[in-house]
Amino acid sequence: MIALEVDAIDVHYGDFQALWGVSVRVEPGGTLAIIGANGAGKSTLLGAIAGSRPLTRGSISFDGRDVSKLPAHARVALGITLVPEGRRLFPSLTVEENLTVGAFRRREGPWSLNRVYELLPIVANLRQRRANQLSGGEQQAVAIGRALMNNPSLLLLDEVSLGLAPVIVQSLYAILPDVSAEGTTVLLVEQDVGQALAAADRVQCLLEGRVTLEGDAKDLDRDSIRAAYFGV
């Protein structure tokens, strides 16, 4: 049984090819980390799965259904939810309004405003604050809460650690077991290899748009990761 199957996709930005025949498989409830250097194509891959990047070749299926042609908003209705790089909160909306927008599709599931506030107490204290008045860590917490409000069956996390202090990154990653416990499949993109290995059960490494390494997080040794990460 496979929750997400990305089958040999190519993605282009104009003439530039960002992904070359990339394949990804994640089992239901599993957590896969995509690691790689800047510009390796990690965010592009998440964008392709979420529907904001068109494919030039290959296909993506989710729960056995081909979603390659569906627009982003229709994929959200199926439970594919992206926490975008740079948080991308709605700046003029309050924190609580940002969360309710996350629930726009009204999918059934375990997550509600109260559950999100319970999981992320820092967000509960900010509910009437405008999103453009938050610190980076607060914004990231709200962005994750907003995605949970869709009751995702596949949660895509793009560079949660970007620009945040290590202690904040750790507190955000600490909630992932609670999310997985609800049966949610997680696909996360990280530059921080240590964080990725700790959070995921499977790891794939991208280098210049190609998969260079794949394996169980606990089996991979530092040297082979370094080789795959830098291509040396």
Binding site: A72, H73, P84, F90, L93, E97, R105
Partner: protein, 289 residues
């Protein structure tokens, strides 16, 4: 008492301006597009109402039952056939497209009707008033216009602030690409905003036609007042537009007291003063700010 009367009349005139500016404000607030045929579309609504009055013998008020949904459909078509194609092209494309549409509409109305001035007949209700003193009287129709303006603008503000779709509309305005990642179809939000906006244009057009005469080209004359109301209130804020319309109306009637020859001038001066002193508008803390 003369001044009190000027302010009271100004508030009621301002109600009409606010009602008229509402659609412009909403479309700019959600789509970041200036809808240049805004004034012409309100004249189209007035002619539509007149056609129904002539054909069916209805009161202009009754024709709102047809004009409002009719204009909402026009808004949907405007969004899907014109704006949606122009929005992605460049910042200038929607302006050019709507400018062309404005000219086309004026000439179409000239072809169908004539350059003669028309008015929507409302009989004695149009001239009836409530005399408070020898120098202060409140016309029933202007008072009704003000009431309708307040109800319409506050209802739209409430929708944007509280309703699920209103919040989604503000999210789309903030960041359409991210809104799609939340499951919101941005095109549908734009179409809904255009329908709402044009529904208010329909109301404004009929009220304008009942208050004063109109010709196929009078739309662009009113467009400047709508712009001024929107800018004075703060671009993109519907609540601000209500206040902006009232400020503009009062400026014009008080201006008429000061210099009867050119009341509009004082309105323009207030508008310019706001642009210079508070370029983001007087009331910018609101929904679509």
């Amino acid at each position: 008492m003369v001044w009190v009367n000027a302010v009271v009349q100004g508030l009621m005139l301002g109600g009409l301006y606010a009602l008229f500016a509402c659609g412009l404000s909403l479309m700019f607030g959600v789509m970041r597009t200036v809808n240049l045929p805004h004034g012409d579309l309100s004249v189209v609504a007035a002619y539509g109402s007149l056609a129904l009055v002539d054909a069916l013998g209805w009161s202009p008020f009754t024709t709102l039952l047809i004009v409002i949904p009719g204009m909402a459909i026009v808004g949907f078509l405007l969004q899907r056939l014109v704006l949606d194609r122009a929005l992605g092209v460049s910042a200038l494309a929607p302006l050019l497209a709507t400018f062309g549409l404005s000219i086309a509409l004026q000439n179409l109305l000239l072809q169908i009707d004539s350059p003669d001035a028309r008015i929507l007949p409302i009989g004695s209700f149009g001239i009836g008033s409530w005399h408070i003193s020898s120098q202060l009287s409140i016309g029933w129709f202007p008072l009704l216009t003000l009431g309708v303006a307040i109800v319409v603008l506050l209802a739209i503000e409430l929708f944007l602030q509280r309703a699920r779709l209103g919040t989604a509309m503000r999210a789309t305005r903030d960041d359409a690409a991210t809104a799609q990642l939340m499951g919101i179809d941005a095109r549908k939000m734009y179409a809904l905003a255009a329908m709402l906006a044009l529904a208010t244009v329909g109301i404004a057009g009929v009220f304008l036609g009942m208050r004063t005469t109109f010709t196929p080209t009078s739309g662009s004359d009113y467009l400047i007042f709508a712009f001024e109301a929107v800018v004075i209130g703060g671009i993109g804020s519907v609540r601000g537009t209500l206040a902006g319309g009232l400020v503009l109306g009062v400026a014009q009637t008080v201006g008429a007291q000061i210099n009867a020859a050119d009341p509009i001038l004082i309105g323009h001066l207030v508008f310019l003063a706001v642009l210079v002193l508070r370029p983001r508008g007087l009331f910018r803390s609101s929904a679509l700010a």
